[in-house]
């Protein structure tokens, strides 16, 4: 075992909570990966992400042999929705991080590398985007583009990229004057080659750490938009959407206040555990990479 790996394992051993976070993430990865096995879609299904409907009763039904997590209003199977919703959660998180990372790399890289008026312009642009409350700007973008899951991802990416760009710009600025960059320039390398081959590979690491810390935020924002009815259509396997289906039922039935507990606690609990997992792991990653915060 290398020293580096030992350092990582010892950190997780000393922080049992973060190890728990890792377990949560691994669990969700397994569920997402095995979704077709855990909840096989109907062969005739048009899209496996559409939750099958069982009957037309408007009331949710409690967990049973056929529906282990019960059903939502209008009889969407909660178990199926939860399993495939895990895939949706990863898809949203990864797409948003990928887009925000790409935009951050481009804007932050160019801004830090060239400086001057271009830097000023791009950084003022990030100022402007950051001057909006993130969720509200995302709501505007989805409202204009029309409700759909793709637009939710796009809007969340549109409000997240400035932080990535600023972080990368700082890294690029710090690296620009280093010897290996000057050496490459001395050897006659082009700007693009210096930026993409020499600077970015060295600057991207902190960005990835930030991304791991950001995943929880992204998933909450996207779920909130879905919850507000601005995301996937009803019946699509999406946790935020499933929580919104519980809104009419949280008061329970007369005399049985918790009659429909499963409609809120199951999808809501999944979002919580998913985000908790990422936040706990992000916490450990930050401690590992930031030697100043080591307090032991």
């Amino acid at each position: 075992m290398t020293a580096r790996m030992e350092f990582w394992t010892s950190t997780f051993r000393e922080k049992p909570l973060s190890a728990f976070g890792l377990v949560l993430i691994v669990f969700f990865i397994l569920v997402a990966g095995l979704a077709p096995v855990l909840a096989p879609a109907d062969r005739r299904a048009y899209d496996p992400y559409l939750i099958p409907e069982f009957g037309y009763s408007p009331d949710p039904l409690p967990p049973s042999r056929e529906h282990p997590f019960g059903t939502t209003q209008e009889q969407f199977d909660l178990y199926y929705g939860m399993v495939w919703g895990t895939r949706t959660a990863f898809r949203v998180a990864l797409s948003v991080v990928a887009v925000a990372l790409a935009a951050g790399l481009l804007v932050g890289g160019v801004s830090g590398f060239y400086g001057g008026w271009l830097d000023d312009l791009l950084m003022r642009l990030t100022d402007v985007v950051l001057a909006f409350p993130a969720l509200l700007l995302a709501v505007v973008i989805v409202a204009v583009l029309g409700p759909s899951l793709e637009h939710v991802m796009l809007s969340v990416a549109a409000v997240s990229w400035p932080s990535y760009a600023r972080l990368l710009r700082g890294e690029v600025l710090a690296l620009k004057g280093r010897e290996f960059v000057l050496a490459a320039r001395g050897l006659g390398a082009s700007d693009a080659r210096i930026l993409f081959k020499h600077i970015l590979p060295n600057a991207v690491y902190p960005l990835l750490v930030y991304a791991s810390l950001d995943v929880g935020n992204i998933v909450i924002t996207a779920a909130a938009l879905s919850f507000l009815g601005l995301g996937a259509p009803i019946g699509y396997a999406d946790w935020g959407q499933l929580v919104s289906l519980s809104r009419n039922w949280i008061l329970g039935a007369p005399g049985r206040p918790f009659a429909y507990w499963y409609t809120i606690l199951i999808p809501g609990g999944a979002i919580f555990l998913f985000v908790l997992g990422w936040n706990l792991v992000g916490d450990a990653v930050r401690d590992i990479l930031d030697p100043r915060s080591v307090s032991r």
């Binding site: 204009v144 929880g216 601005l230 979002i271 985000v275 916490d283």
Partner: protein, 340 residues
């Protein structure tokens, strides 16, 4: 000091220009017919959409349109909101006091608890209290407000009937719209006290508990952790050691010396927190059916009421920009080093 303030003030119009331009650009994706409502003053005008489009040049190039829109906005014409059933400017006046009331009800406990627990967990670092606040913080980060809000409603309204949603109950709603109830401030709880109506006050307070508690829990995490780490940093500094070496009591060292310096980042964070609460707590207001700016924004977004969406977002972003400015200026007042 003056140069610092001057530079910040010069920067303000630039950011405001950027904010309005970005917002206008985002809406420009829609057809002129859909954007016409941004200029309409009353629903009767919608009969002749073409005339509105013609009058405000909605088919002209973007910069021209932006100029016209900005001129109208500065005159106070932000269009007619279909969901609020009134002009946007009136709707903001109508909904803003409710949001302000909720913001205050959530802000005070958040800051008091956040600073108090943050300081305590720095002083008792790695003891059980620190671990407990760490748990509060990490669950607060991870719990979406719509899940927490719904679970609270399930318990405190569905089960115990203690704290209902909405802003006030029906009887009180009638009472406050009666002629003898005065609205000097627009904040219902405060008005009720000024009018000596304790029944109204109790009812309004009961409706505020759950949304305020939800917002407090969600926002507490950040404030608590920032206070804690800022406090830890100050407690490790030389002047604290000097103060201790002088034999000052620990309460004085922590409360007088360290806390004052540790509060800097807390000030910025709290001013931004307050404004983000004012800008519309979109989710929480929606869940608790609280008639404020945030719930209106959501209704507008769901029904493609563009003037409503643009109006609320504009309000929130301008408040945000101003709060940032105030935080910077406050910084300069608190920290003499920044004045040069």
């Amino acid at each position: 000091m003056l140069r610092f303030i001057g530079r910040r003030l010069l920067f303000l119009p630039l950011v405001l220009f950027g904010v309005t331009a970005l917002l206008f650009f985002a809406v420009d994706f829609l057809s002129p017919e859909m954007r016409a409502a941004l200029y309409v003053r009353s629903p009767r005008q919608t009969a002749s959409v073409e005339a509105v489009i013609e009058k405000y040049g909605l088919r002209k190039p973007l910069p021209v349109q932006y100029g016209v829109w900005l001129r109208e906005a500065l005159r106070g014409n932000l269009g007619y909101s279909e969901t609020a059933r009134m002009p946007v400017a009136d709707a903001i006046r109508e909904f803003f006091p409710a949001t302000l009331e909720l913001a205050i009800a959530a802000f005070v406990p958040t800051v008091v608890l956040g600073v108090f627990l943050g300081v305590l967990s720095a002083v008792f670092k790695d003891r059980w209290l620190d671990q407990a606040t760490r748990f509060v913080a990490i669950t607060g980060y991870s719990l979406p407000s719509f899940v927490l809000g719904l679970v609270l409603l399930m318990l405190f309204y569905g089960k115990w009937h203690l704290f209902p949603p909405g802003r006030c109950s029906l009887a009180v709603d009638l009472a406050i719209h009666a002629a003898d109830f005065k609205h000097p401030t627009g904040l219902l709880a405060l008005d009720a006290i000024l009018d000596g109506r304790w029944d109204v006050f109790m009812d309004v307070a009961r409706h505020l508990v759950l949304p305020a508690a939800t917002l407090t829990y969600i926002n507490l995490a950040l404030l608590l952790r920032v206070t804690r780490s800022s406090m830890l940093e100050e407690l490790g500094k030389d002047y604290v050691r000097t103060a201790r070496a002088k034999g000052l009591p620990e309460s004085l060292v922590v409360g007088r010396h360290a806390l004052r310096n540790a509060l800097m980042p807390v000030i910025t964070l709290s001013s931004l927190l307050f404004v983000s609460l004012l800008g519309g707590v979109v989710i929480t207001e929606t869940i608790f059916d609280y008639p404020g700016i945030g719930r209106w924004t959501v209704m507008a977004a769901q029904e493609l009421d563009i003037p409503g969406v643009v109006g609320t977002t504009l309000l929130a972003s301008i408040l945000f920009v101003i709060a940032n400015l105030c935080a910077d200026l406050l910084y300069a007042v608190v920290d003499p080093r920044l004045r040069t």
